[in-house]
Symmetry: C2
Amino acid sequence: MFTLAEENYLKAIYHLEKESKSGVSTNAIAVKLNTQPSSVTDMVQKLAHKKVLSYQKYKGSFLTKEGKKIATNVIRKHRLWEVFLVEKLKFQWDEVHEIAEQLEHIKSEELIKRLDAFLDHPDFDPHGDPIPDENGNIKPTEKKLLSELQKDQRGICVGVKESSSQFLQYLDTRNIGIGTTIKVVDKEEFDDSMTIQVGETQLHITDKIAHNLYINTN
Amino acid sequence: MFTLAEENYLKAIYHLEKESKSGVSTNAIAVKLNTQPSSVTDMVQKLAHKKVLSYQKYKGSFLTKEGKKIATNVIRKHRLWEVFLVEKLKFQWDEVHEIAEQLEHIKSEELIKRLDAFLDHPDFDPHGDPIPDENGNIKPTEKKLLSELQKDQRGICVGVKESSSQFLQYLDTRNIGIGTTIKVVDKEEFDDSMTIQVGETQLHITDKIAHNLYINTN
DNA sequence: TTTAATTTTTAGTCTTGTCTAAACTTATGG
DNA sequence: CCATAAGTTTAGACAAGACTAAAAATTAAA
């Protein structure tokens, strides 16, 4: 069994690993978790001993298969809870992260299984990030920025890049949310603005908006 | 802000206070929390310092107004989560306690406010215990054992006294659950068995069953 | 009311996870 | 290629919350 602190380290290292491609540096972990590098050294040594990551002095760490499994499981829980908070409890997209940080550590496999079913086995969280399955597999996502779509392409809104309240409210008043189908009706090369179809209505949006909306084009 | 351990102490003391009427003994707390009395002494001194309980050496502890408020708030969260687990995630009545023990410590007032609304402001948890409101007020309950009802009296099932799997399954197969209206059709003085009306059907039950079902006769 | 049993507290220790300060590696630049 | 900077680790300390063993207070019994 892993403690709350251990789970947070594994999660942080998992995220950092995807960006660095090589071993994750002690400093990077410290920055991510808002701790001192010396604390990180202690913890990675402990986690290495527990076989969930491999660590060499001065060379950084990377997760073992076992470590990845634990990390993705925590991420799975986090994202499922985020879906719950937004879909069922009607939180805004940007209000849920802190609460999910706590909920992700609740220990009960059965709980997550049932929550997943209750939410109808969602594939993405409210930020458009994919939800790993029980085995830690993450479906390769076709997530793109709306600005990358071509004329006449369509997709489903799966999340936002920036999540300020103003932006989310902008989207809300225009009936754009998770699961909304968006079609690019026209694209203006000059200023990168575009006309999109949302439900019955057409909408003209600036490049700034288009650069902050994630679309799944599967 | 209070730690998980502190919240658990306050909750335990709150429950014990209702039974003892005088100060709660150090030993009683230790038994309830499965710790050593010496650990309890340390903690109650700390909590006394924080003004959430008053404590006198060798005389036991009792909660201050502030302490009661925190305790009832934790209990409120616990019971709301239990309702969620049973009503929404379809857990059995007896499977939810451990999970709710964890969920009750999630910190977010907004979360509980929304969860309460999502569950339609329930008054009782799946065990028939009343859910305190935001201010810690607990509605005086008319909860009785089914065995205490008279012929022709009716009420709503609000919980169980014993919660073994067998008993819960017995109830399930007979369509008795939280919220089920039960009417006493006939009562046999000789062996305390009774005939009850559940929905369309009548049912003959033994005294053992009647002694383990809580009914709200409001 | 004096002794014995019980309960409670104190003192000292341990583990987890953190910190600071100092020492040590590795990387960088002249 | 050596000196310095940057990053990392070690050593020692601390707070929270628990434990054991021993001392002290209270209660019960003779």
